[in-house]
């Protein structure tokens, strides 16, 4: 069964120009297509008509690079759980649907054009201490650092973050607490990351505020929309680490 759709797509020339929704009609979209393949069809039509295609970020198209991020019908990554836009398939929509497509909206993620935003702020957060300071060649034997299986699993749960920014986009305050909480958890749960835990959490939280991310009010929208199922408990761990570091 193929779909006929109406799209309302956010078009914005650059960060300083006012954007607006533009309507498009699409016919005969296969339900087996992914959402981005549907946008490919739209762009193909626009190019044929001599119009400029809709600009958006995407790369791996298998849900792991974190490049794609669209606000679809009011939800980051659209109407399915635990996936990115590239894994969203058109079978989640019905014939005749109107689909509203917007970029992430957050002060720390300015729009570059159309649906493409600048997420450099996430890189700046990691640069502030989201690592273990170990130079190449100075590591002890891998099994010399035993890690309890449960801790390793919890750490992996947090490390699964793909840096897409859905948490920020979902949050009414555009807070980056889940992103930072995930990195703090990933490293703090491991013996390797404990040494620098205090400085890391203080520096990352300070930077988060500086970059214009908002505060957390524990509504949990971030967890609900995270494509990798990163849990709110990571924010609790971040808070705990932060207050411990302050005393």
């Amino acid at each position: 069964m193929n779909l006929n759709l109406k799209l309302k797509v956010w078009r914005q020339r650059d960060p300083n120009t006012r954007g607006k929704f533009v309507n498009y009609q699409l016919k005969n979209i296969s339900t087996d297509s992914s959402f981005l393949e549907m946008l490919d069809v739209l762009n193909e039509e626009l190019i044929t008509k001599g119009e400029e295609p809709v600009i958006y970020d995407h790369d791996c198209r298998e849900g792991i690079c974190g490049a794609c991020g669209l606000y679809i019908n009011g939800r980051p990554h659209g109407p399915d759980s635990l996936i990115t836009v590239c894994q969203l398939h058109m079978r989640k929509f019905k014939n005749g649907d109107t689909i509203v497509i917007e970029p992430w909206r957050a002060r720390a993620f300015p729009v570059i054009r159309d649906l493409m935003v600048d997420r450099n702020a996430f890189d700046k957060l990691i640069q502030e201490g989201g690592y273990v300071s170990v130079n190449t060649g100075s590591a002890p034997d891998a099994n010399g650092i035993p890690v309890k299986k449960e801790k390793a699993e919890l750490s992996m749960d947090a490390a699964a973050c793909i840096g897409c920014g859905a948490c920020v986009a979902a949050c009414k305050n555009a807070s980056a607490m889940l992103f930072v909480g995930a990195k703090i958890s990933h490293l703090t749960l491991l013996p390797q990351g404990k040494v620098e835990a205090r400085d890391r959490v203080l520096d990352m939280v300070t930077k988060m505020d500086e970059l214009g991310f908002g505060s957390c009010t524990n509504t949990g929208a971030c967890e609900a929309e995270c494509p990798k199922g990163i849990k709110l408990t990571n924010i609790a761990r971040l808070n705990r680490e932060y207050y411990t570091a302050l005393v």
């Binding site: 295609p53 791996c60 198209r61 640069q127 690592y131 060649g137 891998a142 035993p146």
Partner: protein, 646 residues
């Protein structure tokens, strides 16, 4: 006339790398500060190299086309990374990893390089654990392993089905630390369009700012390529959409030699193609073959019913299933190397036993594993892969067997490099998937991550010093010299030419045409006629492209169609070189299967007498045929045999 010198150090195999390091030139700390290195790409090889060199004290400029260095396509590697730790006490050793890799590569790689790779593999695991990579653990806190194709031991370290992601984040975080320290300047959304050479040496690049469309100039004492693979020449592949050949192709056109361009890996377990609008293929990790069993029906009438959708895989009784890998290769069974598994799937589907509507799929079945281990265990091991499969296909793989088919996944070919990872252009190095060096004609699973990180962390940061030690008196220089003017003008002219075509066909339409030619003529099974036809068709497509391509928008602006068109122009030329390379190699080896050269049982038939060499191609001009040079491979420590996985 190019002379290929592999520069393999003297001495016994096991001592070559230590001998090299003991005798090579190093750069002292005060001089390192004065030397700049450009690194193209931020995948495992690029990020690891940039971070490690910055830690040593070099000044690094790191480029990627993505919006963040964390998104390089190494991130998508699923299954794991090999190392000869022998933590499982199952008899693994450096020699065994070396042996398996050479054999897996069908005896078309360089012994000394592969031995070094096996040697540093253990250091990689140590390094990654120290960085906080959350590898899978046993209850006692030690590291867990699993098995991958082409090996009789469990030497694969993994982090669920996201090993590439976790290793890349480790390297990305190490890189981020150096950015903070001011030793690395990051240039995201910045794509290399040309190599700048001064006095015959690589001295800089011309890059295009993806957002503004402006061309920019960057100088350095050395340029390191870590730009990944070129599988997108087939349009459909498991590569990221942006992955391209352009960085290495510009270097090839400036004189760097290209090694074994036609050696492509076709991965046996990918989700089958669904339709015409499909933009990319998704891999299902090789690790699934630890527990999944691959089969097709024994009876053709069952296959026909499956193809018509009248029955499902679960409706076919055990005795009517043909577990063809277990039947043909009892010793390795479902864990034969990728090239062997891919060809076996194609053979069954071509014979009419395919199991989906297109007839181009086989089953990967977890029924027995779920019965043996329980659903929970399977979920813990492969949960994210099963979820991914279900999201894409809308089918539950816990209940119904998965459907899979081979797809383009990796290129063993790439920039020709010597033992030091130095290309034939002085000062230009190539690492990771962008070089040809370690995997011969077929790469084993979990070895790409190993090679990327080996090159990036442990090999290049040493070998590059042997070159840079002679550059300590070269001061930093400005980019307002004629060499940069010329290189920039070349790019400007090419981009203007593209914009001026103003045709009627979209880039994707033309790219799909190229993909079809490549898949049919230079794909899983190749023959003389097909390759000759492909070369002709590519020549025609090249004309069509330069006559009909339609690029909307402006030259000096964010223009994704222009980006794609520019990459496609290079892919078309690469396609012709690949076909030429495949045509000349009149033997079957690894992923390169020539139908004329097979055993009675349909296995690849090598011709060691005439083809034990690396085909090294030299660019001679747009209208001229490239010249082929040979690097003869000598096997001193391994007996060259017919590969046998039975």
């Amino acid at each position: 006339m190019v002379k290929l010198q592999s520069r393999i150090p003297e001495g016994p195999l096991a001592e070559k790398w230590s001998n090299y390091k003991s005798n090579q030139n190093l750069v002292n700390p005060a001089n390192k500060r004065k030397l700049d290195v450009i690194v193209i790409g931020t995948g495992l090889a690029g990020a690891a190299a940039a971070a490690s060199m910055a830690e040593m004290g070099f000044k690094v400029k790191s480029f990627c086309y993505q919006d963040s260095s964390r998104r390089a396509h190494s991130i998508a590697a699923q299954g794991g990374i090999n190392a000869a730790k022998n933590y499982q006490n199952d008899g693994d050793s450096t020699y065994r990893l070396f042996y398996d890799t050479i054999k897996g590569g069908d005896y078309r790689s360089r012994e000394a390089n592969v031995y070094r790779l096996a040697e540093v593999s253990n250091d990689i695991i140590d390094q990654c654990v120290a960085q906080g990579v959350p590898f899978a653990r046993e209850y006692g806190g030690t590291l867990d392993n699993r098995s991958f194709g082409g090996a009789l031991v469990s030497r694969t370290f993994y982090a669920r089905g996201q090993t590439g992601q976790q290793l890349l984040l480790g390297a990305y975080q190490a890189l981020s630390r150096q950015v903070k320290k001011g030793n690395v300047e990051m240039y995201p959304r910045m794509e290399m369009y040309n190599l700048v050479m001064v006095d015959g040496k690589a001295r800089g690049i011309i890059a295009r700012d993806v957002i503004t469309g402006k061309l920019e100039r960057y100088s350095a004492h050395s340029v390191v390529l870590a730009s990944g693979g070129y599988g997108n020449v087939y349009f459909l592949s498991t590569m990221a959409m942006g992955a391209n050949v352009s960085a290495i192709w510009q270097c090839y056109k400036k004189g760097a030699i290209f090694g074994n361009p036609s050696f492509i890996q076709i991965h046996p377990t990918c989700i089958p193609v669904h339709g015409e609008d499909q933009s990319k293929l998704t891999l299902m990790s090789e690790s699934l073959r630890n527990d999944g069993r691959i089969w097709v029906p024994k009876k053709k009438e069952d296959a026909l019913k499956l193809q018509k959708g009248e029955i499902g895989g679960v409706d076919i009784p055990e005795e009517d299933r043909d577990y063809y890998l277990e039947r043909r290769y009892p010793a390795f069974g479902n864990l034969v190397p990728r090239d062997v598994a891919s060809r076996a799937a194609k053979e069954r589907c071509d014979a009419g036993y395919g199991v989906n509507s297109t007839g181009l799929a086989v089953f990967l079945d977890f029924k027995d594993a779920i019965k043996r281990l329980g659903k929970d265990v399977i979920e813990a091991k492969y949960g994210n892969l099963f979820q991914m499969y279900e999201k894409i296909t809308d089918d539950n793989p816990y209940k119904n067997p998965m459907m899979i088919y081979p797809a383009i996944h990796y290129n063993m070919g790439g920039m020709w490099v010597d033992y030091e990872l130095h290309t034939t252009i002085p000062g230009l190095f190539a690492t990771g998937e962008s070089n040809f060096s370690d995997h011969g004609a077929n790469r084993l699973g979990a070895s790409a991550l190993m090679q990327g990180l080996a090159d990036g962390y442990f090999v290049l940061p040493y070998t590059i010093q042997n070159y840079l030690a002679d550059e300590i008196n070269t001061p930093r220089f400005k980019t307002d010299i004629p060499e940069f003017d010329t290189a920039e003008k070349e790019v400007q002219d090419q981009l203007e030419k593209l914009m001026d075509v103003k045709g009627t066909m979209s880039v994707d339409t033309l790219h799909k045409k190229l993909g079809k030619i490549m898949w049919e003529g230079v794909g899983m099974a190749r023959n003389k006629e097909g390759l000759k036809k492909a070369i002709e068709e590519i020549a025609k497509l090249k004309e069509e492209f330069w006559f009909h391509v339609n690029i909307p928008g402006e030259l000096n602006d964010l223009n994704q169609e222009l980006q794609k068109a520019s990459r496609l122009a290079d892919f078309i030329e690469l396609g012709a070189l690949m076909a030429r390379d495949a045509l000349h190699r009149e033997e079957s080896c690894g992923g390169h299967f020539r139908e004329e050269f097979q055993t009675g049982e349909g296995e690849a038939l090598r011709n060691d007498k005439d083809f034990t060499y690396v085909a090294a191609w030299e660019y001679k001009g747009d209208d001229k045929e490239p010249a082929m040079h040979k690097e003869v491979l000598n096997f001193e420590y391994i007996e060259v045999k017919q590969r046998n996985y039975k």
